[in-house]
């Protein structure tokens, strides 16, 4: 088992290949790896409760992916309520994850 941190910086309203990135995240998780999806910048727009694209993040959370949203980005965009399965966190958590042994970070 390996550890992966996928950082999504783009939002699915603007970027057509965000869905493919989430497919990649889900695929890696299905291979029983430990996976975190870390949302930064405009990617947190789809983390808002009720957002039409929030389901992709919640589905990954149900599949065992740790879905984390940058609290700074959430505040910038006035995202107060998150879709199910998404937790807010500081950017220091991304650094901690990157420093965890055997961890690969992939940024989209």
């Amino acid at each position: 088992m390996a550890r992966f941190v996928f950082v999504e910086s783009r939002d699915p309203y603007e970027c057509a290949d965000c869905a493919r990135f989430l497919d990649l995240v889900g695929g890696v998780r299905r291979r029983s790896h430990e996976v975190t999806l870390f949302l930064v910048q405009n990617a947190v727009l789809a983390a808002r409760e009720g957002a039409s694209h929030a389901g992709g993040y919640s589905d990954l959370a149900r599949a065992g992916v740790a879905v984390v949203a940058d609290a700074f980005a959430l505040r910038e965009r006035a995202v107060d309520r998150l879709a199910s399965g998404i937790e807010p966190s500081g950017i220091d958590r991304l650094v901690s994850l990157a420093l965890t042994p055997q961890t690969r970070v992939i940024w989209h």
Binding site: V7, F72, A73, L94, V95, A98, L99, W107
Partner: protein, 137 residues
Amino acid sequence: MTIGKNLTVAIMDPPYESATTATALRIIDAALRQAQVVTVFAYEGAVSMTMKAQQPHANPVKGTTVEQEEHPTTKDWIAGLFALARQTGAKLDWINCGLCVDERGAGETIDGPRRGSPKDFFEAVKLSDGVIVIPTH
């Protein structure tokens, strides 16, 4: 601070063009509080972030002076990161890719950054506990 940890971060976005710049600097800031060594490899447009000649400006639309506008510059933010490193005892090794510097005329930098090459990035990665490569869009 996590003793003995090394993190390498590669960045490519030029200053003022993308939200990624602020995110990258926030990551480096957080890393300087956790790791012992943080290596930043600035590639392509990111080499312009440390240019000494950056200057803030007034805003004639809003009618603010330079002082009132308080326009941030990336060189000042990065100088702040070097100051943070001195405070935490971490080592910040900021490397600007030399070929990218030459192309952009970005050779005059603030104190702290050094000129290097992709080989330096490769060597830093070999010594690192973690690597974050932040691409441009």
